[in-house]
Each structure stands twice: as structure tokens, then as C-alpha cells.
Amino acid sequence: MSRLNSLIGLEIHVQLNSKAKMFSSSKNSMDDVVNSNTSYYDAGLLGTLPRLVNSQALTKALKVCKVLNMEIDPLLSFDRKHYFYSDMAKGYQITQHFHPLGKNGYLKINDKEIKIARLHLEEDSAKQIHNFNYTLIDYNRSGIPLIEIVTEPVFNQASEVVAFLRELRDILLYLKVSECRLEKGSMRVDVNVSLYDENHHYNKVEIKNLNSFVNIEKAIESEVLRETNLLKEGQEIKSYTVRFDEATSNTVIMRDKENQIDYHCFKDPNIPVIKIPDELLREIANSNFKLKHDYRKYYLNNYGFDRDAVEIVLNDIYLNDLFFELLNKSLYPNLTLNLLCNNLLKFKNKYDIYDINVSELCYLIELRAADKILSREVNAIIERMFKESIYNYIDDYLLLDNDKVIEKAITKVLEENKNKLEDYRGGKKKLFGFFMGQVLAQLKGKSNPKVVKELLNNYLNK
């Protein structure tokens, strides 16, 4: 047997984060009470019809097409794809089988061009929750807009696949078209693996049930190994569908794919073919979307920020939005980056940190820059910002830099400790710390230590 190589292709489903569903006006959200975001259409009730073609979803899909360098079909046309399953109330899914929105695209990963065969719009099925002897159906997912991205089988190894997927996810996140949460199913990846050698191209196996990039990598490696071993033993590879079993890190056969499912596709008679407006196509074609690497380049080249800190910001698109906005408003870029990474981010799990008032945050940064607040107080100040306006309480934290007040405190301390003052002036310089502590105590900590230190020095050395 000659050397075996693998070819890997991907089918990626991504839920678009439009406000409404693909063909109905119900809310697009999986976070609400089950079956609450469900119209009669989403439940597949008799007599219902698609009542809209979601233009927001279309715009988002077009943005992805643009970044993936795809040819766009200006005529939007939808087909029905049939299969019987309890997650599909109508008995069919509306998709773009015959005329996908985008085709023949590519994405460059480490100088390798990953060819993307097609990108099309479709609607999601309902979510099923299987229990021991019954199944529950949540139609909140039914009808959520999806894009399906299909790559050519161009990957040779698992690491390439994961590098591509990470890049793709960053693109989708930075285009703000999806939350891309694999564990929540808003991004789903099916992997096709086939082996070949000089003489032969073996059957394709599809891997499903992959809920993280780590598992995708493991699953591909394990499947390639399984197939290689089969061939070594002289057995054939059948077109199975396998699933990844997390517990054992192995791929397990789900079903025989020999009998290919016939989806009986035909054009949906209820949705007229829609000409995508020229203005929209032109707008998309002329857009220059700012992606993760654009921001990275900007931060590093223009500001020379710390690389690690920049990555922390870039890995959270909402934090990045906030940072980018603050950068344009604040005169203190480094302080801003510090404050976000070291202070604000601490509250991520407790509050909606992206909802913080930007102009108040700018004010806080200015106070820090002017040393008018103590660095150890910053967290407390930020936490209160989630509950009330900073202007209500900032006086509690502002340091006194009124020289007269400080001088008054110094005079008082020196008068009360005349002996020590003489000792100090006699050469016992260690006593400086004592005086400093006394003055700060007198001022109840609400003073700028730098200013105190300077003034105290003047007085002691008079």
C-alpha cells in the first residue's frame, strides 16, 4: 500500500443574529422561554406562508460573501428540501439548493487559498430535547436564519482545518453576523474526511456532533487513524456518518450513508424570485470591513501597545468596540488599555460591562492620568458605575490637592511633635515616614500622597 493522504472538506452552519427570523417576524432568540418566539409559521401550522424574506439576514450573508471573495447571485431564489424528522414541522426546510447566494470563493490561511464552493441562506429546524421515553420540541429555533458555508475538500490535516475555522469565526464575529458559539449550536461544523493514495480515492465519511475546535481536531485525527487502520487490515471504507464521542475521543458510526437521502428539492412556489437591489450590492462591494487583523495592525503600529494586552481586547469583539471608541475619545491610550484589561474586565461575569457609559469612563481615565484618584480605588469606582452615575459619588474618591488644607495638616502634626521634628532636623531622616503617616492620617487618606510628600519635605527642611 502506498502512502495515504487525507482530504478534508467542511460544511459549516452559522445562525445569523438578525432581529427576526428568516421568513417570519418572530424574534430570533434561543434565550427566551421555550416556544415563546414561535409564530404559527414557525410551528408549521396548516395555511401559513413565509411572510417575508429577512433583508437584515440577507445583508449579513452578503457581507460574509464579500469577505470570502464569493461570486454573488443577484437573483435571490429559495427551494424546498424535504425530509421527515420531528424537528421539521413543515416536512421541508426552505434553503437555496439550486441557486446559492454565493459561490466560488476563497479565504487565505497562511498563504494557502482555501476554496469555498458555496454559501447559501436557509432556515433552522426546531430544537429537540430527547429524554428517556419522550422528545420535547422547542420551536424558538425553528426558522432562525442560517448560512451554510461549504468548502471544497482542500484540507490535508486537522490543524489546517482548525486554523481555517478560527479565522472564519473571527471574520463572522467581527462582521457581527453571528455569536458563533459552537457549544450553543449557533455555529455547527460537519467534517468530511476521505483518504487517497496514488491509485485510489476512498469513500467519504462525514463526522457530526462536534461542539468545539478541540474536538474537531481530535475527531479528524481519530477518524483518519480509524480509516488508515481499516485499509491496513485490508477492509473497505464505507460512506458512513460518524459522530465524535467525547468520552473516548473516538469516532463512532451513526448510520450507513450508502443509501443517499433524496431530498426531492424544487423551487418554493410561495416565494417569488427577488432581485437584490443594486444599491445594496454596490454598498457591499464597496465596503471595507474592519476585521480582527486590521485592528491588531492598527493598535500595534500606531500605539505600540503590549501584544498580550491587545490580544485580550481583540478576543472580545465588544471589548474591542469599547476600546476603539475610547481610543478615539481619550488622550491616554496606555492608561485606557490598562483600565480595560486590568479593571473593567474583572466585572465581566457580574455586569454587562459593554453597556458602561463611555464618556464617564473617559472621565475616570482622565482622573487617573491626573493622579486625582488612587489606583487601588479604581475597581470600587467602576463597580459603582454600573449602578449610578460617576458624578454622584466621585467626590468620595477624589484626592485633596488643595495645598492650604495639606499645609494646615502638616503644621498641626509638626506642632504636636516638636521633639521628633528636632530629632529629624538633627539627622534622624528615618522619621520622614512617621510624619508622612501622621499627615495622611490627619487627611483621612483623601489626599494625593505625591503632593503631601512634596509639601512635607519643604516643611521639614525649612
Binding site: L45, L46, T48, L49, H82, S86, A89, P269, N270
Partner: protein
């Protein structure tokens, strides 16, 4: 009796008579005892019957199928809502062929509908009950649906007016679909005044139906011009032909232009094949929601595979099942391009042929049916269609979406038959005017 003749008392009386007559004619699936509607409007106190494949939130909607015997829709079809907004009283849902599949009105889980003119004969389908309700003068109007000939055929056999509007003028929201690209909601009526009002109301713009995009044309003035569909004329029984000849004579006397036109007979022969491939393909898709999950009758304890098998086996008639098999076959990937796709191409050819040279004042005339209603025990709904043009020509208007109407024409041994007029697309108002114009001439004939 027209809509304006109705008052609260007459409405009540007609409702009671209807319940009594239903025992004999079996034209209603479910009556609505709470029919009274206190809204004001042009149909105040007017009883209107609705074909049982249009969903209603106050009455069950069964589509005359065992599968849906207990189905209660949570919403009203748009046309029902529009009529209720005009004060109409929805008195009942009318019997029909199961899921609108059938040509005789016999294929219903409620049993066959009986022809008021002769109780041994069929009414014609699938909108059988709607036609009977109007024929028995229990309402001036009934709403129905027409996919191949389902309004015009029973209208022809019951001496009523059966109107199929242009495709895309009446919202299909709330219609249990048979074949979306052909399904048209229309009207069975006993007078033209109410027909016009009803059409105006049900053709209101509805945001629930993306395919309702067309705008109806304004009516023109006479003179009308008529094309006699020669292939049909040549085929029909001699008694119908002689009535046609009389009508042509009358028209010519009034100096109205009448021409004979022969269409490509080879192309016309494939009408039933094209219809079956397209209509059944769409039906196999539309009825895929009948699985036993959302619409369930049997086997709550079964797993999905058995559940769907059990429900579809037990609750669909053999006729429906056979049509679903044909439809599924038509869409099979292996012969999709030689069956379904080819049928779509031939449909376009037929449309071009039928619409050619048809201007706003010209109408195609043909006998609606080539004979009177058949004896009930002599017809079965079969998959084999006759290839007689006079039997299939009504389907042409469903293929192209053109408006088409059947009006009472004449009688043979006390059995009625109709005359069909077809106009150009969206020229519905003119078509109704031309129909009324012809009705007067036909009426004159008898005086």
C-alpha cells in the same frame, strides 16, 4: 336571494333549513352555531359558507380528511377575516374532496356530497359543498378553492356562478395548500352584484402572502370579443354544441365579434400529465407536515418513525396516498429533470399558447364541462385522466394564473351545465362584466 335581502330572521331561518337539508345533501362538514357577527358592513346578516380547507378559528377545519377531523386552527384565513370584517356570518364549513383532491365530491371522510338537481348524481369537486350551499339558496356566496377546476366544475353541475380569480390577487394565507403554484381562492355565487363585492373584499392586500403581488386591472367598456375554443367545441355532446351555436348566433346578431380558434392539439393532450406531475409534486411537499407530530391522531406512545407511518397510513385515503406517491416520484432526483422540470417547461409553453393574442376585451369561451353531472355510481376518482380537451381545458387557467369563470348556461333533462369564460391576467373585473353580459344574452334566450 341576494345579500341585501337578508336580515337577522331570514339568516336564522336559512341556517335552520340548511341543517335540515344537510341530512340529505351532506354539503356541510361542521356548522357554526355561533355564526352571528355583530360587525357592520356590506355583508351584515349575510350567511357565507367556507370550504373546509380554509382555516377558521371558531370552527374546526378538516379539509374532509380523517387526518384533520379534530383540527382547530388558532387563526382565521385572511379571506375569512376580511369577510367577517364586513359583517358576514360564517355559518358553516363545506364538504369537499379530501384535501381538495378529487373531481366528483365523493372522496370525503364525511361521505359524498349530493347533487340537488338529482340525488343520484355527483356535484363535481373538489368544492362540492360550496356549490351545493349556493345552489340550494342557503347563502348568496360561498368561498372555495380552485387548483385544476375545483370551483368551476361543481358550479357547472349546480347552475351556479363559479369564479376563479387571477393567481396572486387573493391571499392564500389560511388555505390548506394542495399545490401552491396553482391554488386560487375563489367564489361560488348566485348573482353578479354580490360576486363583485365579495371579490373586492377578499382580494384585499395581505402582508401574510408573498405571492399576492399583482394589482387587478380596472374594467374597460364594451365591446367584447369572444374566441370560441374550437378543440373543446368540436368534442362536446351535441346538445351542448347546439346551445353554443345558438349563443354564437345571438352574439353575431348583436354585431359582437366571435371567432373560432383551434389550439395545438398535440400540446393540449399533455395537460393532464403536466398537471399531475406539478400538482402532485407540490402536494407531496405541502402535505409533508401531516406527520403525527403537530397534527396527531394516533400513537402518542410511538417513536417518530412508527408515529408517522401509523398516522399517514391510517388517516389518508388511498386516492390521496396514490397522488402523493406520484408527486414524490415526480420530484425524485433521478428523473427530476425528465418529469417535474419538463412539466414546468411544458406548462410555460401551454401558457404562451393560451395567452397569445388575448387582449383586455377578449375572452375565451368553452363549455365548462363536456356533459352534465355523472351518476354517482358510475364515476370513481381515478389517476387516469381522460385526454379529452373539453375535460381538461379548465386547468389551463390554473397553469397561467388567468381569471376564469363558469356561468349557468343551459339544462339537459333538468340537469344544468355551465359556460366558461377566461380572460387575460388581472383582468378579473372585465371578466365578471363580460360574464354578466353573456348571462343576460343567455337569459334572453329563454324569455
Amino acid at each position: 336571494m341576494k345579500a341585501k335581502d337578508y336580515n337577522e330572521n331570514l339568516l336564522k331561518l336559512k341556517f335552520e333549513v340548511a341543517k335540515e337539508l344537510n341530512k340529505k345533501y351532506n354539503f356541510v362538514t361542521n356548522f357554526n352555531d355561533n355564526y352571528y357577527n355583530d360587525k357592520e358592513g356590506i355583508f351584515k346578516n349575510t350567511p357565507i359558507y367556507i370550504k373546509d380547507n380554509l382555516v377558521t378559528k371558531d370552527i374546526k377545519t378538516t379539509a374532509a380528511s380523517k387526518f384533520l377531523l379534530d383540527y382547530q386552527s388558532p387563526f382565521d384565513a385572511s379571506v375569512v377575516k376580511y369577510l367577517k370584517d364586513e359583517g358576514a356570518c360564517i355559518v358553516g364549513k363545506t364538504n369537499m374532496d379530501e384535501l381538495a383532491m378529487g373531481a366528483n365530491g365523493k372522496n370525503s371522510v364525511f361521505g359524498p356530497c349530493i347533487n340537488p338537481f338529482d340525488d343520484t348524481r355527483v356535484v363535481g369537486g373538489s368544492s362540492s359543498g360550496s356549490a351545493v350551499a349556493v345552489a340550494l339558496d342557503l347563502a348568496p356566496l360561498a368561498i372555495a378553492s380552485d387548483t385544476g377546476d375545483s370551483i368551476r366544475r361543481p358550479a357547472s353541475f349546480t347552475n351556479t356562478i363559479g369564479f376563479k380569480p387571477s393567481y396572486g390577487l387573493v391571499s392564500r394565507f389560511g388555505l390548506i395548500p394542495y399545490a401552491d403554484s396553482l391554488d386560487t381562492i375563489g367564489i361560488i355565487a348566485n348573482n353578479y352584484f354580490d360576486l363583485r363585492n365579495c371579490f373586492r373584499i377578499i382580494s384585499k392586500k395581505d402582508s401574510n402572502d408573498l405571492s399576492q403581488q399583482a394589482i387587478v386591472k380596472k374594467a374597460n367598456q364594451e365591446p367584447y370579443k369572444f374566441i370560441i375554443f374550437k378543440n373543446c367545441y368540436d368534442e362536446v355532446s351535441s346538445y351542448i354544441k347546439s346551445e353554443m351555436d345558438d349563443l354564437i348566433k345571438q352574439l353575431k346578431k348583436k354585431e359582437i365579434e366571435v371567432i373560432f380558434k383551434e389550439y395545438d392539439s398535440e400540446l393540449l393532450k399533455v395537460i393532464p400529465t403536466v398537471y399531475y406531475l406539478i400538482a402532485n409534486a407540490e402536494a407531496s411537499s405541502n402535505l409533508a407536515s401531516l406527520q403525527g407530530v403537530t397534527f396527531a391522531r394516533n400513537g402518542y406512545d410511538l417513536d417518530y418513525q412508527d408515529l408517522i407511518k401509523e398516522n399517514r397510513s391510517q388517516n389518508l385515503s388511498s386516492l390521496v396516498k396514490r397522488r402523493l406517491v406520484i408527486g414524490t416520484h415526480s420530484l425524485n432526483q433521478d428523473h427530476y429533470s425528465s418529469s417535474y422540470l419538463k412539466a414546468c417547461k411544458v406548462r410555460r409553453m401551454l401558457n404562451n399558447m393560451y395567452q397569445k393574442d388575448l387582449d383586455d376585451n377578449t375572452f375565451i369561451l368553452a363549455p365548462t364541462t363536456n356533459k352534465v353531472a355523472s351518476y354517482s355510481d358510475q364515476v370513481e376518482d381515478d389517476l387516469m385522466f381522460s385526454d379529452a380537451v373539453s375535460e381538461n381545458h379548465l386547468i389551463l387557467a390554473n397553469f397561467s394564473g388567468q381569471p376564469s369563470i363558469s356561468i349557468p348556461f343551459s339544462f339537459k333533462n333538468k340537469m344544468p351545465y355551465g359556460l366558461s369564460l377566461t380572460g387575460s391576467l388581472y383582468n378579473d373585473n372585465n371578466l365578471i362584466n363580460a360574464a354578466e353580459f353573456l348571462a343576460k344574452i343567455i337569459g334572453d334566450d329563454y324569455e
